[in-house]
């Protein structure tokens, strides 16, 4: 059986963690807010790069181990960018 389906829960969790984090702190638009879904996907990569640059991480645009570790750290609820 293909390991790609169903998506491993952990991967789903990771996607959720990243999207929630970027929506909350980096103005990632949610599906409801963005008019074109593929734009949204591009935005995730861009926002992820923005977050990685902010924290001085390697800017990969990918949710690597270091990036996820920072996202799991307890922190202030005020967004890092914008209002």
């Amino acid at each position: 059986s293909s390991s790609a389906f169903p998506v491993a829960p952990e991967t789903e969790d990771k996607v959720q963690l990243v999207e929630n984090y970027l929506q909350h702190f980096y103005n990632l638009e949610t599906d409801k807010q963005s008019r074109f879904k593929n734009k949204n996907i591009k935005t995730v990569t861009e926002k992820l790069k923005e977050m990685q640059a902010f924290f001085g991480l390697k800017v990969t645009g990918k949710p690597d181990v270091d990036t996820l570790e920072v996202m799991k750290k307890p922190r202030c609820g005020v967004p890092d960018v914008g209002q």
Partner: protein, 368 residues
């Protein structure tokens, strides 16, 4: 530092605050003291003053809230989001909310209320999150012993950009964050730990894992709240999986990653004479079980098995480590080489041929 979009600020210098409610985690006096100390962090370095009022509407209302508390920014239960605050302005402007579902304390366990309050007040006064990992306005939580806390220079610069300097004739200054690739970077101590390298500097340490190009900068206190800043020497006893850390005439022991309790202890336990006040550097030779301590221009050799200092020491460093001067900052052994750090330079010493075989920048391990 980063100013909040639109540069909102309070037009008055004399502001008021009110503690609307309390957390059952701490007694009220400790909550009040923590918050008062948090305001003092900012009033010490700016012309702002903060007066506590006990009823009615203060400029900065401080409260403990749970989950969705009707400000469009719900809290999320334990950990995660700890608190938030609103930029200067009327109504909710300037207000600070703490997530009541966190465990709030005045110490290192749970989340230190003073530290979080001081951070949120930065927002209340018009600052956003800083990208400086050592700044108070850095977004993630890190514990700092409140009595050792000094507002970092980055935050002082930020608040004084908004409100101008304090009336204090003595210009307040704060600690700066060492740059990983700063060519002038020097180290206080270096040690191996379970295959990694730890580089100590002021209240920070870098962790360098051999397989990873990245190094990451951490507060010492985030991992080991009871360790002081300014570690002066460190070495690993690989066999016993312990790291020894020295400051002045005291030492602490990490067993694995955990600080062993009932420390610090006295360095005279090792057999140093009383005229030795501090250790400059140390490394331990895993093969021979001998540990070398460097003090000024002399060194001692300690036998880890008999747990006693070898006879015939101290000796002159220069006689046995040719090319290595005095007052070594740090040292560690890796493979056949000993690495000595003196200022911005690192000397790779080969004990088999008894000479320095290479000189590098101190931060050459950081892949700058």
């Amino acid at each position: 530092y980063v100013l909040t979009d639109g540069n909102p600020k309070w037009e008055r210098k004399n502001l008021t605050y009110r503690i609307v409610n309390y957390t059952p985690d701490m007694n009220q006096a400790d909550v009040e003291k923590a918050i008062q100390k948090a305001f003092k962090v900012w009033s010490d370095v700016s012309p702002l003053t903060f007066k506590r009022i006990y009823d009615g509407n203060a400029d900065i209302m401080m409260s403990f809230e749970t989950g969705d508390h009707r400000d469009n920014s719900p809290f999320d239960g334990p950990n995660g989001l700890l608190a938030h605050a609103f930029q200067p302005g009327n109504g909710i402007g300037g207000d600070v909310h703490f997530d009541e579902e966190e465990y709030w304390t005045k110490g290192s366990n749970g989340y230190n209320l003073f530290f979080v309050a001081a951070h949120e007040l930065g927002h209340s006064l018009g600052l956003s999150h800083s990208t400086d990992p050592g700044a108070l306005m850095y977004p993630t939580y890190s514990y700092i012993e409140p009595n050792e806390f000094h507002l970092p220079q980055d935050d002082i610069n930020g608040i004084q950009t908004v409100y101008g300097p304090s009336d204090n004739p003595v210009k307040p200054t704060g600690p700066t964050t060492p740059g990983t690739c700063d060519p002038k970077l020097t180290f206080d101590a270096v040690a191996t730990m379970r295959g990694e390298l730890l580089f100590f500097k002021d209240r920070y340490f870098w962790r360098k894992h051999p397989q990873m190009t990245e190094v990451d900068l951490n507060f010492i206190s985030l991992f080991w709240p009871n360790l002081p800043s300014g570690i002066q020497a460190a070495y690993e006893n690989v066999e016993r999986d312990q790291v020894f850390l020295f400051k002045e005439n005291k030492y602490w022991v990490l067993s694995g990653y955990d600080l062993v309790y009932n420390h610090p202890k006295s360095i005279y336990d090792f057999g140093f004479p009383k005229n030795v006040k501090r250790i400059n550097a140390a490394f331990s030779d895993e093969n021979s079980g001998k540990t070398y301590f460097f003090v000024g221009d002399k060194y001692w050799r300690y036998d880890e098995n008999s747990r006693s200092m070898d006879q015939g020491y101290p000796k002159k460093i220069i006689n046995d480590f040719r090319g290595i001067g005095k007052k070594i900052d740090a040292a560690f052994q890796s493979g056949r080489y000993i690495y000595f750090f003196i200022g911005t330079r690192q000397f790779q010493f080969d004990p088999n041929v008894k000479r320095v075989v290479s000189v590098m920048k101190s931060n050459s391990w950081f892949n700058c």
